[in-house]
């Protein structure tokens, strides 16, 4: 599959964050997402959307991300993130 453009990756990360699959970037450190966190988030979104869980932003995944939808997130805040905050 053709490699993704930086713009597509950014769109993907924004989308995953917007709908609750990725925690928002840390406002203080601006820490970027780790690769495994991104892969895990993509798989969760693919599973939710009934797609094959490839873990990468393939064609079908990008198409689904462009499908009209409800603004509300699909996932409540990721457990790990809220867990960390609680600690």
């Amino acid at each position: 599959a053709p490699s993704l453009t930086a713009e597509q990756i950014n769109m993907g990360v924004d989308w995953l964050t917007k709908f609750g699959y990725l925690p928002p970037p840390d406002p203080v450190t601006g820490q970027l997402q780790t690769k495994e966190a991104l892969t895990k988030a993509i798989k969760a979104m693919q599973k939710y959307g009934g797609l094959e869980e490839t873990g990468v932003l393939d064609e079908k995944t990008l198409v689904l991300m462009k499908t009209p939808r409800c603004s509300l997130p699909d996932v409540a805040e990721p457990e790990s993130h809220s867990g960390r905050r609680r600690r």
């Binding site: 709908f19 599973k47 939710y48 959307g49 009934g50 689904l64 462009k66 499908t67 009209p68 939808r69 409800c70 603004s71 509300l72 997130p73 699909d74 996932v75 409540a76």
Partner: protein, 443 residues
Amino acid sequence: SVPSQTKWSKRHLSWRIRTFPKESHLLGRDTVRALMYYALKVWSDVSPLNFHEVAGSEADIQIDFTKADHNDGYPFDGPGGTVAHAFFPSDRFTAGDAHFDDDEAWTFRSPDAHGMDLFAVAVHEFGHAIGLAHTSAIESIMRPYYQGPVGDPLKYSLPYEDKVRVWQLYGVRDSVSHTERPDTSRSADPPVLLDLPENRSTVPPARDAPDRCSTHFDAVAQIRGEAFFFKGKYFWRLTREKHLVSLRPAQIHRFWRGLPANLDSVDAVYERPGDHKIVFFKGLKYWVFKDNNVEEGYPRPIGDFGLPLEGVDGAFVWLHNEKTYFFKGSQYWRYDDHLRRMDLGYPKDSMLWKGVPPQLDDAMRWSDGASYFFKGKEYWRVVGSDMEVESGYPRPISKDWLLCADMQSDSPALEANGTETRSHGQRHASHAENNYEVCSCTS
């Protein structure tokens, strides 16, 4: 799916459309209201929840059509992308509110490819408004992605997956709600009844259809703000703007569902104040309709109202006191539909309604605040709280209400080749052939 986001503690929820789509040439306001009404009804049909429309700003569920960033943390993004959202019952200031992106082309009964089906999206958003979160279940209306139109709002059935989740939240709806009746005195009229007939062009008008320009009527009623003229097995319908919906009458049985098949006419019809249900009278029986479906347990005897066992000529609710007036022969009765009790001191002589003839065909109130009395081919108008007919009446029903020119009668008897014949046998081309067609726009 994520756990549900709490739920409403009360069972009666009010709603109101605060802002309508700007591009309302696609969908009229009445249609938007009706679609919201039926999208909420999807959830109230399967749960103990009840929704009623109000006019004021205190509604539990405020509905807005807005665009771009509207300061609620969920900015819209132009056509496509995010199309709507709603707030869970747990949201402190916006619980239940629903926002629809005004940059979308909202449609109703349009082919899949064009625009966004408003009814389908509204059902989803009101699922959030009562506490359901997104789910990945393929069948569910609560999937986050737009799946296209879901068909006829009057026939839509919620997927079982969603019924189970709402039952888990609120329990099932039993036939009688145990909570007290909501105070709907402030409520605005509920929306018009959606008339979603099968394609009319495939249903040729029956030969015995009456001619609206040369007949008197069995019953006349204002229902959800629209006027209905009943004759035999047929009725004509006028929008709130008094526009005749169609020159051809519709068949009562095809729209008002649950009346006996052998019913050949009705005596009187009115919309009950309070719950806006619609009451049909025929002989010594009456039926109560919720929207256009008869409720269980009907027909019942008119003795329930304390009326004499002679039947009813006419019935209407006087705007002035919200009392229901029944007419029979030269007498009338006054009934309190809120207390479900006949007022004392009745019947009285209908002469007290100065200028109104006895033996009425029916009566109705209209959106101008006046009361109208119908008999034969004429009608009388009584203004506000008067009990005397306004000067200049009677006037012809056909001309003022049913788009008939003077002395015109376009008999509906259709010859095999589709042309219409006048009542005195003269053959004339159907309107469409000489480029003359009477059209009326409905919501």
